[in-house]
């Protein structure tokens, strides 16, 4: 799954640490998501969408490999 957390974060002009605080997770988690190493839970995804004020589908995109 691809995500545009880094892009959304840049639009909002906030750091990983600030986003982590807003989403109530550790900065390592934000980092791992941006690097595509971790797929967040539905709750965390919804939190991110609310923080960025966008639809959840604007942040996350399914890839072909997600169907395997």
């Amino acid at each position: 799954m691809k995500n545009s957390i880094k892009v959304e974060r840049a639009k909002k002009n906030i750091t990983q640490a600030e986003l982590a605080k807003l989403a109530k997770v550790s900065r390592q988690t934000i980092n791992a998501m941006e690097l595509g190493k971790y797929v967040p839970s539905t709750v965390l995804s919804l939190r991110l969408a609310q923080i960025f004020e966008v639809e959840i589908s604007e942040i996350f995109t399914l890839e072909d490999s997600d169907w395997d």
Binding site: S26, R27, Q28, T29, N31, Y38, S41, L44
Partner: protein
């Protein structure tokens, strides 16, 4: 919000504080076979199997309780170290926790399987002795290693 069977973060420090001296004490006791007589007690037991004697249910045995005390301290303290929350215990940390636990169980039983094949008789008692604690120890090592790796890798930004 959700039940996760973990202790609060502060118990991790308390756990280390008990675990390290207990583990050192345990090794000293093992090496020098230290059994101070003031810790000899007559105790009730629910199963007794004497080396060259009978096997019976319920009775009184004489036992040195130092190894029991140290064993209990090690188990409780390593449970605290293993299963106290991290400072920022979030869903990613939980995932790493689970993976480390699975890894530790495989590793522990892998070693036990190999031990079955190359260690026999009374010598196997040593394997059983260590195996009581190793599953937790392997988990603690693996989990903390993964967490420190994660902290290092997340040190960069943008």
């Amino acid at each position: 919000m959700k039940l996760n069977y973990l202790f609060p973060n502060k118990f991790k420090k308390i756990g280390w504080f008990i675990l390290i001296p207990s583990a050192i004490l345990a090794l000293v006791i093992l090496i020098f076979e230290y059994q101070p007589s003031f810790l000899d007690f007559k105790l009730p037991a629910i199963f007794i199997s004497e080396l060259f004697g009978d096997t019976k249910l319920f009775g009184i045995v004489t036992n040195n309780i130092l190894n029991d005390i140290v064993g209990i301290l090690i188990i409780i303290s390593s449970l605290l170290v293993a299963f106290s929350k991290e400072e920022s215990e979030d869903e990613y940390i939980s995932k790493i926790r689970l993976e480390s636990l699975v890894w530790a169980v495989y590793f522990n039983y892998g070693i036990l399987l190999v031990s079955f094949l190359i260690i026999y008789d009374i010598s196997f008692l040593w394997v059983m002795l260590f195996n009581m604690f190793t599953i937790l120890i392997f988990f603690i090592v693996r989990f903390n290693w993964q967490i420190s790796k994660l902290k290092k890798s997340a040190n960069y930004e943008e």
